[in-house]
Symmetry: C2
Subunit: 351 residues, 2 copies
């Protein structure tokens, strides 16, 4: 299993810092991750979510990081297809790939926030077809020949998209998904799967099964999973620090995603897990609950290693560490990164 | 008069280099310009113009440069309003301003390429109203409060645009213009004026008059003008090198802009200058012609200084040097940058 890191540039009020300081902290953490040999640094794109995420243009931060890092790969996690014109995305991917000397990884997805759809003037019911059209246009652009495409949303006639990406045949493509039936589509398209931190582990396991069942690619399947992690030599301290940061994170996250999850799984009999989970969540999110549902990894290196083995056994190939859910002081995040690199990663390299 | 530099990332076949090398060259030139105390480095946005410009995502290059430069300001020259959602532009400006520690300058404009309008699915007749809506949304976003806006093209209800720019009240705003009647609008909006390299000097002088006539701002008016320049100690060598690069540049530029200029100035009696210019252009673009029409600055430091004085006298406050029109080897471009900094800039600082 490979170790990546994942950031959304959170600014909870209890980690007092300016936006400038938050950006500087995250850049310093990714520089450290580069030195510690994490594989890839992913940044999320969110809009209009004060405190939860001040990262609306991750591609710009990755462009800056391309000059401050040497070997770590840089992941767009993700470009929400419905809010971006495919030509702009194709051009951004190529430019980033040039600036980073071929270190870009590209996540695509549909987005899940009604506020975002509304502001960008897009109908959520178009999200699947918009994503499919974007993927096809991107793929054609990677051939480096002029692109012609006649779809429902986009019409391109012999459009010469420039510049071209450096990696051949193209930067690795991934897709985030939330709906249970999306995972088969992601596999059929030959994309790496990105599982968000949204669901109890049992449900994610089910999504992984769907993905693997539909996988027919010649290369091995890629299954990335973002997880909030706080690993420190002193497990009690880790748990104490995680209490504030991780529960804050999940409370913020579920403001938008719990109603959406309920819509995606209308029948509790069909998937009882969500029913239980939902009942518990409504009583109040706390760290024990999150740990019991296998949604966070907290503790000593030995405890974290044990938890992570479970993910690996189920097929996860890339763990995207959201250290302290991005809601701890950078000194703590950097301490945890060092601890993971020194005490956890080697165990997974030995295999 | 301030000295800026301007790049479009040209890749003429006679300057053999890969896209990666072109990007590396331009970044090295801007690092040098930073050391040589040029004020600002502007990058243009163009799409689908192989050879002429491989710079479709200048904001990413500026983000990278924010980490490689210390004091030079970084200019988006320009965001074409019709191809971008105003929320994306507001977010990009703020993110760039944070990454560069408050060094961003922002140019807006309407774009002039039919191919671009077509690919992005926008009607050229909407370009004015799209630009006006973008400007209003940007200005509201700079207040750092949630934005509500009900326009013809965009509808935003209490949208919390994040992050926020660092500069107060906001990064300097400029606008490119081409149509003679746009320049008064630019002044009325209190924006700096960016004159492209499109027109004979007499016509640009006329645009400057229009702009100054309509200027009512409390601050001094800002008049930027992009010009192709090749300044070397050996004037004969400068002229020889410029022959290839500058004529190539204008031939490429006029493929799209000459028909447009003709449309904008339908009556030759109204502005005879364009009529003459057009007649000459159709006979074939050459360096003497470009020099006679005051469109390029070529020669020794003394010769270039004399030419530039003319622009300054007419009100130009910022000269955007497009060294060798971006179509010379980087060694030549860097030599010319050094020559301008050492032998031309001091003359304009003494005043």
């Amino acid at each position: 299993m490979e170790f990546d890191i994942f950031h959304e540039i959170a600014m909870p009020s209890f980690v007092a810092r300016s936006e400038s300081d938050a950006y500087a902290d995250i850049q310093a953490e990714i520089e450290l991750a580069d030195q510690l040999e994490f594989r890839c640094a992913w940044l999320a794109e969110h809009h209009f979510r004060r405190q939860y995420s001040h990262c609306s243009k991750p591609e710009l931060v990755l462009a800056a990081l391309s000059q401050r890092t040497q070997r770590i790969r840089l992941g767009m996690g993700i470009f929400p297809a419905p809010y971006h014109h495919p030509v702009h995305v194709a051009e951004s991917i190529a430019t980033l790939d040039i600036l980073s000397n071929g270190r870009i990884e590209v996540g695509l997805g549909r987005g899940f926030s009604l506020d975002e759809y509304r502001a960008f003037g897009v109908d959520m019911s178009d999200s699947r077809s918009l994503s499919a059209e974007m993927l096809e246009i991107l793929r054609t652009s990677f051939t480096c020949k002029p692109v012609s495409f006649h779809g429902v949303h986009h019409r391109l006639d012999h459009v010469d998209i420039l510049p071209h990406p450096l990696q051949t045949p193209h930067p690795p493509l991934w897709s985030a998904a939330l709906s249970p039936d999306s995972f088969a589509w992601v596999a059929q398209q030959g994309l790496g799967m990105l599982a968000g931190p949204f669901k109890p582990w049992l449900m994610t396991k089910y999504d992984i099964k769907n993905y693997l069942g539909a996988w027919g690619g010649a290369t091995p399947p890629r299954i990335g999973m973002a997880v909030s992690i706080l690993c420190l030599p002193d497990g009690k301290r880790a748990r104490q620090l995680a209490k504030q940061s991780l529960t804050w994170y999940y409370r913020e996250l579920y403001k938008t995603t719990l109603p959406l999850l309920e819509k995606l799984y209308p029948s509790y009999e069909h998937l009882r897990e969500l029913g239980h989970f939902r009942e518990f969540m409504k009583l109040g999110i706390n760290l024990t609950l999150l740990e019991n549902f296998g949604m966070v990894v907290v503790g000593t290196p030995a405890e974290c290693t044990e938890q992570l083995r479970k993910f690996e056994a189920a097929g996860v190939t890339h763990i995207l560490c959201s250290v302290g859910a991005g809601a701890v002081k950078t000194e703590v995040a950097q301490e945890s990164l060092r601890c993971i690199a020194a005490e956890v990663m080697p165990a997974f390299r030995q295999e």
